[in-house]
Symmetry: C3
């Protein structure tokens, strides 16, 4: 790539202070940038790093004293991401079905889709416009992949899973596997065969090696714009709202409801059938055993109000002193009694 500061400013609606004719040939962090790399200042605390950076062009949120050329926008990191997105869009991808893929009779594949070798598309499945299925992707019977979605290698999509538009699924993730449901029949765990589905709305992204189960009778669903990290488990019949964040290794049992805009930090676990309110924040490794109200922040196992938990943790550290004080009080009281 080779793009002028002027062109960048036009694309981003940024204000320029400095040389509009400078050419940018790459993207980098402040400490690694070469003179022709674009970089950005996310926070004033990085000002020293900016000064020592070799980059000549920096995205910033306000005018600063420097001899570098500045591109001024409200949110430099967002602007940087927007430009990155534009400049790193995959190119040279030729639509079509590779001869080494297996598209079963009765599958519908858009002519603009890219189907790489070793991909399977079963009968009744629908692959939308500009979809990219990387090698080894499996799409089961009657599953739907919406326009512009990308499935990386070895993603497994079970039958009847419904995936929206502009969805990104990273390698190895499994969508629509059987939920963990059995009925004890007196001798063994009898499997409850799931006939529900998994519905993933538009603009969802899911990391690598996650596993999302289909519903037992009804559906499991992931709301629009929600982002899910690696190695996350979503149990059957769970409903995740819109624009949620589920960090790495989060696990939720079956029938969990999560409201819009909630944030579940890494390794959080949520027990069966609970309701997590909208805008809730759950700190890392918390084990949730009760419903959580809207906007609430919790921590701990079992999870409780974040500030209450932090006070408790502080008192844990005073427990040795408290035990000692108790012994002393006892002794002094016995003395007094005498």
């Amino acid at each position: 790539m080779n793009i002028s500061v002027r062109e960048i400013a036009e694309f981003l609606g940024a204000h320029v202070k400095g040389d509009e004719n400078l050419l940018i040939s790459g993207f980098a962090s402040l400490d690694r940038a070469q003179p022709h790399d674009l970089t950005f200042l996310a926070d004033k605390k990085y000002l020293p790093a900016l000064e020592s950076s070799r980059s000549q062009v920096v995205l910033v949120s306000q005018d600063i004293e420097t001899d570098k050329t500045l591109l001024i926008t409200e949110n430099p990191k967002l602007s940087f991401a927007r430009l990155l997105e534009k400049e790193t869009r995959p190119q040279d991808i030729k639509p079509g079905v590779d001869a080494r893929a297996w598209v079963e009779e009765g599958a519908h594949v858009s002519k603009t889709a890219v189907i790489y070798p070793f991909v399977t598309v079963r009968r009744g499945a629908q692959i939308g416009e500009n979809v990219i299925l990387y090698p080894g992707v499996y799409v089961g019977e009657k599953a739907v992949i919406g326009d512009h979605s990308i499935l990386y290698p070895h993603v497994s999509v079970y039958a009847e899973t419904n995936i929206g538009k502009r969805v990104i699924i990273h390698a190895g993730t499994v969508l629509g596997s059987d939920g963990f449901g059995y009925v004890w029949d007196g001798e063994k765990h009898f499997k409850f065969p799931p006939v529900g589905s998994l519905i993933i709305d538009n603009d969802v992204e899911i990391g690598a090696n996650s596993a999302l189960d289909r519903g037992a009778l009804n559906e499991t669903s992931i709301g629009e714009g929600t982002k899910i990290d690696n190695l996350v488990q979503v149990g059957h019949n769970s409903h995740i709202g819109k624009f949620c964040i589920l960090c790495g290794q989060v696990g939720m049992a079956g029938r969990v409801q999560v409201g819009d805009g909630s944030v579940l930090a890494g390794q959080v676990g949520i027990a069966d059938g609970l309701r997590i309110g909208s805008g809730a924040k759950i700190a890392g490794q918390s084990g949730v055993t009760k419903n959580i109200e809207d906007q609430k922040t919790v921590f701990g196992t079992p999870a409780m109000d974040f500030n209450d938990y932090m006070k408790i943790v502080a008192l844990w550290k005073k427990l040795p002193k408290m035990a000692k004080e108790l012994r002393e009080l006892r002794n002094e009281l016995e003395e007094l009694k005498k």
Copy 2:
């Protein structure tokens, strides 16, 4: 499907109250059922949902006042699951080895097995009757897959793994990978090359993206009828008993023994070499650092008796009050001393 209430009653041994000639064309939960869907009442607390349900045919455990047709059995959810199992059995599956699969010379594949494209079966491996290997399954040298087992896409079976009959393995799961064993040689971690195997008994089901290691010298084993959820780790030389339940993201280090009928809730971790008794129950996220007796229920990290832990958690919440009371006692005692 189209099946009459009479046929259902005969298959399940159910008692009918109402119209035996009604036809059922689907399965649904109470709230989603259409008139011709069969549904079931798992618990009396759902009676209001039953009344408002559009379904005309309901599996129940005892006679109730309603104008719907009732199928009465001892365990309605189990009966529902039995019928579901019968009616959702995959059909139209033609046995045979697809030309795009790689069956190495010296592998033995039953004529009734289904081998889809992009499957690998290495030399010395044995694939039993009616086995289904979905696209991308890898079966290593001398591995055995018992009759009627189903391996979903991209399951990896390492060499010499032995899988029983009627086993179901969901997509992406890895069976028989090398255990995590090294010997420090003064300069680096020297790998202890495993030569043990992994043995999975009949009627086991394992979820998606789990990882079960082979033994170092002896075997790792999973007992008959045990059910394992998604993203579970079973370390080398561990032995899981019969009819156990291992929920999502459970992790056990090497050489763990779990007795028959134990239940490990989500995200439980078990340290190296421990013995978990039969019928033990381990609450979610517990970190087990000591052996656990038969029938015992534990919680917490480190895990302890469940009721003890719940009492402790209740007292955590009183710690601020206790600290305050200690300070007051100290002050009042000093007053008294004067």
Copy 3:
């Protein structure tokens, strides 16, 4: 195999006490050994097991009274592992690219590499000498796989990932997937498209179904000789030192630094941007929320000094007594006041 005690002694530099002409035909643990299996005594506490073992040849660290033939070395388990490594090296593997693999034009594959069916190697990728790529491995554009590395089935290597020599990656693991990075744009989470890479140094081994993200702008890196277990998550821009141990289901958020020789036990979680010192030890399930000094051992969520945490846990168990004692002190003090 058939190897004499004399040959073993020569290979290991071991001292023999007994019959040098005995032939060994296998490897086993003390309790499972047949007469011609080699076994080893890792610790004196297993001496009774040694005596009852059927094995006639044992690796030991010093002379003991027995009628078995002894091979005496400084570290019997290490010696056993060395011999195992030599004797179990895969043989009969023919180099070459299988006709069912897809090696894209512009990829460089060494003539000594083994490329099995259903493998993908994209343009610009480099596959080194004696590399083995099992069925279903995906190697993205410009990725590099160093000499003698082994990638088991369905490993996904994203574009530009750089893997060193003698690296082993187990089935299903994903290397170089996009990190979990978004910028809120007022309406939705806008993806920060990663352009960084993942660099894995020589002699690293990674278990099954793990997920390691590429860097956002710079790299994620794993140091020489570090061993990573199954289902581990390494976030973007993290740097793991040399000879570290990351046990099963460890999860680290983005931008974590781990010093050389650190040990992270199972299910440990580490929050964003932290620095873990060299030689640190983190007990299982700990949730690390602050930097950890070199050589420090920690436990708990939030993680603290291991001994402090164990004292606190011991005091938790005394909380019911402490609460009772507090009530009694209060009552007795009130009595005294009267």
